[in-house]
Point group: C2
Amino acid sequence: MKKTVFVFGALIVALLTLFQLSKYSITTGNLGIEFAIAAIALIFFFIGIYINKKSLHKKQAQIPIGEIDEDKISELGISKREYEILIKISEGLSNKEIASQLFVSESTIKTHISNLFPKLDAKRRTQAIQRAKEMRIIP
Amino acid sequence: MKKTVFVFGALIVALLTLFQLSKYSITTGNLGIEFAIAAIALIFFFIGIYINKKSLHKKQAQIPIGEIDEDKISELGISKREYEILIKISEGLSNKEIASQLFVSESTIKTHISNLFPKLDAKRRTQAIQRAKEMRIIP
DNA sequence: TGAGGACTCATACTAAAGTACCAAAACCAC
DNA sequence: GTGGTTTTGGTACTTTAGTATGAGTCCTCA
């Protein structure tokens, strides 16, 4: 915001300076009038580019694509551990691999998964991945 | 492309016209000099915006995020049918469901999958999804 | 025309995945 | 500290997934 004010201030000053300069060049003789006009044109050309770029950047920041919906997770009643396992599933790991990575037994993973699937309305782990992605609860 | 040429042509004409106009206003008396300069400034301002917008749109079209790498598919030696089944897998379908959707037996699906996994360097269908996504061969 | 690739299907098997039910710690809140 | 949730783990079972092997059909391209 401060930057914007500074830039606009500088531009206004530059504009006024150019106005005065162009007027001066007219009174002393119209030798540099083309240059003055060209300079003004160029400056405003870049102002246009700058402003447009800024507004577009703002737009991009407003709509982030790969955002995870944390509210949705708690809304579905998914616990921390269940979510952790969901991520591992989406990474293509087997129950055994998840179990060893989290230092628990495979039975525990199976239990968690069995509790997780109804919450995601899924019957298979592949379906769970698909559902979780379209709900934007995993990247 | 035609549009671009037309726009730029129009802009050059407008620019020259303004140059002449500004010169004329100086010789007849500098009443409208500020207006002329302001007009030039304004026009180039919008030119800047227009060009910037165009270049950014181009940029977005050049780098689409969810692009599938078709070359990679043939590079890995994945056939049409195998790819078709890969898509179904990523949609969370079971072998039985895929079989009925494609009007073939479950055995066929299993055979295709068994041939597909080595090509993707995957051991499980979830891993196949993960690998296929990071290779950008599925959306 | 025949060799090779793609698609199909089957059997038989092993290995995961998933369900159901139970139960004991552990943790958190009231 | 009592009650609810989470996390953990087990047994027993069914279902799905995946492998291995073999074989028939179809199509294409040399």
